[in-house]
Amino acid sequence: MDPLAVGPGEMVVLTGPAGCGKSHLLRVAAGLARDDDRRVTVGGHDLGGMSHRTRRRAVAAMKLLYLSQEAPLVSNLTVLENLLLPIRYLGERSDGEAIEEALGLMSSAGIGWAEEEPPARLSNEDRKTAALLRGFLRRPVAAILDDPLSGLEGSRLAAVLPLVRAALGKGSCAILAAASELKEFTGLPAREAPLPPRRIRTATLEDRG
């Protein structure tokens, strides 16, 4: 695979069949997995090679947004508390401003009703929407999104797309995403980077004879 670079204001979508390693590559980029064959840097940092403490500092400084396919939310917080969690914890903005913006986003995405609900009450679509809102509420500088739009329709999709577009439009956010097809990102200035099926390097089948 050729070297791949994603600059500020750019969105690159890794595409390929299931099992070709898209999610793994994104986990490597986020520093959650190691890959001896590939080197992925985010903002000049090889996150996977850092200690947990250094990585957390780098990630917080970059306001990196990583969204896995499962799009988990912290289960013992309400949905609104989840949206505010990184902003409050890292002291990124005033609480009042963040709450107002979060409530506005939730309302426009059609999940305003879930403000005080625990994530367990949300459907998969609503949970993914909430996780995306939480990420873009932070105004990230870099975003790593694993299949972010699959399953989103109607008001959810209509609320999320402008956020992605706005992040790209300001030229401040570089987005690396993965999906089975590029057409999921219709309406976004996304560039495709097909990922070939993972090649088997060595395989050995031995019998006892």
């Binding site: 957390r56 988990p72 002291g91």
Partner: protein
């Protein structure tokens, strides 16, 4: 024989690894305390308060009931065995020796293990399996500071409160039992209790709260955070956390008793 030695060796090795990882978890949490001076303090305090509410406040009725009954039982047994020897004068000593020094801290700790230790281990194991712990990391949030430290603080604070509450209710239960059998006035009962309490008994209440609460939070959170990929590991993590906590508090209590009272 060789298999036995190998098995023993692997168990010792696993035990040393576990001890090392737990020491690392404790060290990381202590090192994250200075960072609480920053914006994270509010979030950590909020989680700690929730833990105190669940671990301490919600356990008060059960702890009170058990303490009242145990205080009563200790005094009833004493009256039955020592009738005619002026047991009224010894009731305070008996309660201080049996309840304040040993049963109170141990039973309060067992209640915390049963109610909250299992919950801590299962909750953190579920969060780990759902990817919530990794998610915190990718947002730049320290899981040790956000998940473990408030539970450690919550367990210690709650256990201290429960131990004091236990002692008070046990004294009340003791007096109720004494009142059924004798005509001992409350004043002389209280005087006998206060006369039996030594300074080291009082000092050991917060010390045991820190020791036992720390052990419970450390064992249960460690087991919860160490699960692998399978949901079947959640109940295993809870069970292992409970067993480890129980062994820890009983061993620690024995050592403390030998060091302080022998």
């Amino acid at each position: 024989m060789r298999r036995f030695v190998e098995g023993l060796g692997s168990r010792v090795r696993a035990g040393l690894i576990t001890a090392g990882e737990m020491a690392s978890l404790l060290s990381l949490s202590l090192r994250s305390i200075p960072a609480l001076l920053g914006p994270a303090s509010g979030m950590v305090a909020r989680v700690a308060v929730r833990q105190v509410f669940f671990t301490g406040n919600q356990a008060l009725p059960l702890t009170g009931l058990i303490a009242f009954l145990i205080g009563g039982v200790v005094v009833i047994q004493a009256i039955t065995r020592l009738s005619g020897l002026g047991v009224e004068g010894f009731a305070g000593d008996l309660l201080v020796i049996a309840v304040l020094r040993e049963l109170g801290p141990l039973i309060a700790a067992v209640i915390v293990i049963g109610r909250s230790g299992t919950a801590m281990a299962a909750e953190l194991a579920t969060m780990r399996l759902r990817g919530e712990v990794d998610d915190l990391e990718t947002m730049g949030i320290d899981p040790v500071q956000y998940l473990f430290l408030p539970r450690l603080i919550g367990a210690v604070v709650s256990l201290f409160g429960l131990m004091v509450f236990f002692d008070l209710l046990a004294a009340l239960g003791g007096y109720a039992a004494l009142g059924l059998q004798t005509t001992t006035p409350l004043r002389s009962y209280l005087t006998s209790i206060l006369g039996a309490i030594q300074a080291r008994d009082l000092a050991l209440i917060p010390a045991k709260a820190i020791l036992f609460g720390g052990m419970i939070a450390l064992s249960c959170c460690y087991r919860g955070l160490s699960v692998g990929d399978s949901p079947t590991e959640i109940p295993r993590a809870a069970t292992r956390g409970v067993v480890m906590s129980l062994v820890g508090i009983f061993v620690a209590d024995s050592i403390v008793a030998m060091m302080v009272y022998s």
